[in-house]
């Protein structure tokens, strides 16, 4: 298995490099100018030229590419155009903890809720509960996140003001003490995590239900029941373990989501996470930041897939890598 992992890692290097090179050229082909903000009445036309000079955009594209390549090989992704020339690594380091916090909480809630709903739906197949859950899951799954988030805000922040509508902390939260501060942060995360996890759990529930229905029709489940095992043990120990195999793949593919952020939720709840960083960088034509974000997303997708394959082999003895 180690050889397999090593081979996959080796293949990943040119793959990620290729993705970055493509991104480098594609974003420069897109219309728009990083210095466009400085082209307006009352601002000297020299400013946009000076800004382009500073960003190194006046040089020929191959020269820009070579310079960029040399810097990236030394681990330097450059400085952001749109965020006060901060190193892009600092911009990402500022946004990542917020995104990871939301994403980890969301993923836990997603999988716990999704698995519970999926198992109950499968075990009680065609019952009222199953139909109710199936319809409910589809209802939430097909609901646009931004709309759901706005409805939650209107309901729980405006009509019944229990939760805050946006932000990570209350005004003056620094004075609450470390515990109070953490609780205040948690309180601010209730609405966004709820929106994200209800939406995501609905999808996972559909996977688990399908997989579970397939498993409980297998001979070894019949055998377990024939042995006289209680239904709970049959479901939890024999069926669920096998039914969760496809869910492991989902876990691997969720890895990029942890780091890339949930754009709509970050915009609506005013969280400065990775989703907002990426989209604002695209709108501002902030090339270094776009490339750095692509690097992170690309790397995580590659590693997420690798992780899913490895986990699959670990939990399923039939699969040999």
């Amino acid at each position: 298995m180690l050889t397999y992992i090593f081979k996959r890692l080796l293949i990943a290097v040119p793959l990620i490099f290729g993705v970055l090179t493509l991104t480098f050229f594609i974003i420069r082909l897109a219309p728009g100018d990083p210095a466009a903000f400085f082209i307006q009445p009352g601002i000297s036309p020299n400013v946009a030229m000076q800004i382009r000079e500073q960003y190194g955009l006046n040089e020929a594209l191959p020269v820009q590419y070579l310079k960029w390549l040399m810097n990236v090989l030394q681990g330097d992704f450059g400085r952001s155009f749109s965020r006060a020339q901060q190193p892009v690594i600092d911009v990402i380091a500022g946004a990542l903890p917020i995104t990871v916090t939301i994403a980890v909480l969301t993923l836990i809630a997603n999988f716990v809720l999704g698995i519970i709903i999926g198992v109950v739906s499968a075990v009680r197949q065609n019952s009222f509960l199953d139909r109710f859950m199936t319809v409910g899951a589809l209802f939430f799954y097909s609901m646009p996140e931004f709309w759901f988030a706005l409805m939650m805000i209107i309901l729980f922040a405006l009509k019944i003001p229990i939760f805050p509508a946006s932000g990570l902390n209350e005004i003056g939260a620094e004075g609450f003490g470390p515990f109070g501060f953490a609780m205040d942060r948690l309180w601010h995360l209730v609405l966004p995590v709820t929106v994200l996890s209800i939406n995501g759990a609905a999808g996972i529930a559909r996977y688990v239900r399908g997989s579970m229905l397939e498993v409980i029709r297998q001979d070894y489940i019949r055998t377990a029941r024939a042995k006289g095992l209680p239904e709970r043990v049959v479901i939890m120990r024999h069926a669920l373990r096998n039914a969760l195999l496809p869910v492991i793949t989902l876990m691997g593919s969720s890895l990029p989501f942890i780091f890339s952020g949930a754009l709509f939720i970050e915009v609506i709840f005013a969280f400065p996470g990775m989703g907002r960083v990426t989209v604002e960088a695209i709108f501002a034509r902030d090339y270094p930041l776009i490339i750095a974000n692509t690097f992170i997303s690309g790397t995580l997708i590659v590693f997420g897939n690798l992780l899913a394959d490895v986990l699959y082999a670990v939990v399923d003895p039939r699969i040999k890598l």
Partner: protein
């Protein structure tokens, strides 16, 4: 088996207990958190004014800061040489030093105690401006504010490596006529309280004052920063100022907090102990927070939301400032393909005739657009000089009324007759085009649909296209669009040559390709006048020319509306800014501070 069941049960119980504990914790936090008005004692909100903004500040440095939020913050952190005030009776900007004003104030006015300049003298040849600076003003670290700080700052503003967006202000200084300001001669500081600016040409006094009152930086604090590292310096996030507020904390893209600066004497520490600028990108959320009282100021409220705000839990007042923003439909006056290919200027096949453009304006029911969207917060527009600039506004011009029949007649006179499909035709060409606008502007989307229907009624086929803002702007700049809908926010000084100048290479924002030598001449004559009031006749005629030629269809002026929490007192909104006198604002104490 029983053992297994027991274990499962006990595990289930443990999980349930943990969940219950978490829920209790959450509910207890929920109960004690959030908003003012709890009974547990004064909260931070009682002493904090919360202003929402769409985006964050970029640099807390007036030399390079470019966002709206940055500009709002500079005014609170940094001192200024002069104070400016907008006279609503004349529409003129006034510049004020401690002991001198450019113009006599027309109404009751406060002493401009925040100004660093005591007075100024302007040479009779309009080429030398000498300021006398007060000697009792200090930076936050206790160092005195001296004339050298201004000289040093202007050298930063003019340094091409730093690329300040305000370098245009230095265009009249000695040396600028040759491409680079000669700072040795252009700005001198003979002593700590004397500052001299020298111009290469005679400059009107108001313009000289406007262009020499850029915000200073403390020279002793910045002197070791190299120009090439200026934009990357950590000092940009840790400003040293002298204004009524100073930076307390800044969580980028989240919240920037200013605290009242106790040692400020320009003129005094801010009344409100803390001001928080919170980044809330989504409009609906900003509105919800204004309604719940979680924030105090939200800018650019849409008219359709006023009714909901009246019913809000928190008392909300809607305030407006003068008319600075207008929307228009741009028509390419010239054949843009021909111009781009050969540089030759020929009339546009559809919009090249002024009569056709006048007909298009008459065919559009601008009043309906205003009634449907802006209501009383819009005013018909007939040129780019705002009715708020009363001294220059031509109130004898009557905007073209909506008249589809007359528009059809005028189009027929120009040779446009209905074809078999009802669409106007001339020499085999249909009157059909795409109207472009930028994505994300609800007001323009609304207007464009009405415009499309209005034009269809006179036999013109108009397709609506929405483009991402960057793409739209690039297409405008490179004159790739035949018709578009956009808007301008005007400055308080009239300087229209960038938008209407006949030299299409020099006039960077003349997207229509409009050319009129008479208009160029009027602008030149007006700019030569040393007193703006003497230029009034030129500006009146200028508006008549624009009204006659309709290079664009001017739609409406927009009265921008701001939502204020009712607890704010003492605010005076002004066309020069919503936060014009923010250091004088106070917050009405909430129930938590009541005795």
């Amino acid at each position: 088996m029983n053992e297994l069941r027991g274990r499962l049960f006990s595990e289930g119980c443990r999980v349930s207990l943990r969940l219950a504990a978490f829920c209790f914790l959450l509910l207890s936090v929920t109960g004690c958190g959030g908003g003012r008005g709890g009974a547990s004692g004064p909260s931070a909100m009682d002493s904090t004014l919360v202003i929402t903004s769409l985006g964050d500040a970029d640099y807390l440095n007036p030399v390079i800061g470019a966002t709206v939020t940055s500009s709002n913050i500079f005014g609170l952190i940094y001192p200024s040489l002069l104070q400016s005030s907008f006279d609503t009776t004349t529409g003129l900007l006034n510049y004020e030093a401690l002991e001198k004003r450019l113009r006599k104030a027309t109404g009751a006015s406060k002493k401009p105690e925040a100004a660093l300049a005591r007075s100024w003298t302007f040479s009779p040849d309009h080429r030398t401006l000498t300021y006398r600076i007060r000697s009792d003003a200090f930076w936050d670290d206790g160092m005195p504010i001296v004339a050298e700080d201004f000289r040093f700052s202007y050298m930063l503003y003019g340094n091409p490596i730093i690329a300040s967006p305000r370098q245009q202000y230095l265009a009249e200084l000695v040396g600028a006529e040759n491409g680079a300001v000669d700072f040795q001669r252009a700005i001198t500081a003979p002593d700590d309280t004397t500052l001299v600016f020298r111009f290469h040409k005679p400059v009107p006094e108001y313009l000289a004052l406007f262009h020499t009152s850029l915000t200073p930086l403390p020279a002793h604090y910045w002197k070791d920063v190299k120009p090439e590292e200026f934009r990357q310096s950590r000092l940009n996030q840790n400003p040293l100022g002298a204004g009524p507020y100073r930076l307390k904390s800044w969580k980028q893209q989240q919240e920037l907090v200013l605290e009242s600066s106790a040692r400020c004497n320009l003129p005094k520490p801010g009344n409100i102990p803390m001001i928080s600028f919170r980044v809330v990108p989504d409009y609906t959320v900003r509105l919800a927070q204004l309604q719940t009282g979680a924030v105090d100021v939200v800018e650019n409220i849409k008219p359709q939301d006023f009714e909901g705000l009246q019913r809000a839990a928190a008392p909300v007042e809607i305030k407006t400032v003068g008319l600075r923003v207008y929307d228009y439909v741009g028509w390419s006056n010239i054949d843009r393909d021909e111009y781009r290919k050969s540089g030759r200027i020929q009339p546009h096949p559809l919009f090249g005739s002024a009569k056709v453009r006048r007909a298009l304006t008459m065919a559009i029911d601008r009043q309906s657009i205003m009634d449907g969207y802006l209501k009383e917060y819009g005013e018909l527009c007939s040129s780019d000089i705002s009715p708020s600039l009363k001294w220059a506004y031509n109130n004898t011009i009557v905007p073209y009324a909506f008249n589809a029949r007359k528009a059809s007649d005028m189009l027929r006179e120009e040779g446009w007759v209905p074809g078999p499909d009802g669409i106007l035709q001339k020499a085999g060409r249909k009157f059909s085009f795409s109207l472009y606008t930028n994505a994300g502007n609800e007001r323009r989307n609304y207007a464009s649909v009405i415009i499309q229907q209005n034009l269809r009624a006179v036999g013109i086929l108009c397709r609506l296209e929405v483009q991402e803002s960057n793409v739209f702007f690039e297409n405008l700049q490179s004159r790739r669009l035949d018709a578009w809908m956009a808007g301008w926010s005007i400055g308080l000084e009239i300087d229209p040559m960038d938008v209407w100048g006949s030299d299409l290479e020099a006039s960077r924002f003349n997207f229509t390709g409009y050319r009129n030598p008479d208009l160029d001449h009027l602008c030149m004559l007006a700019k030569k006048k040393m007193d703006p009031l003497e230029a009034k006749p030129y500006w009146l005629e200028y508006q008549e020319l624009l009204h006659r030629d309709q290079p664009v269809t001017f739609l409406y002026w927009i009265r921008e509306t701001q939502g204020f929490n009712g607890r704010i007192q003492g605010e005076e909104l002004n066309i020069s800014g919503v936060f014009y006198n923010i250091d004088d604002w106070t917050l009405r104490p909430s129930a938590t501070l009541a005795p």
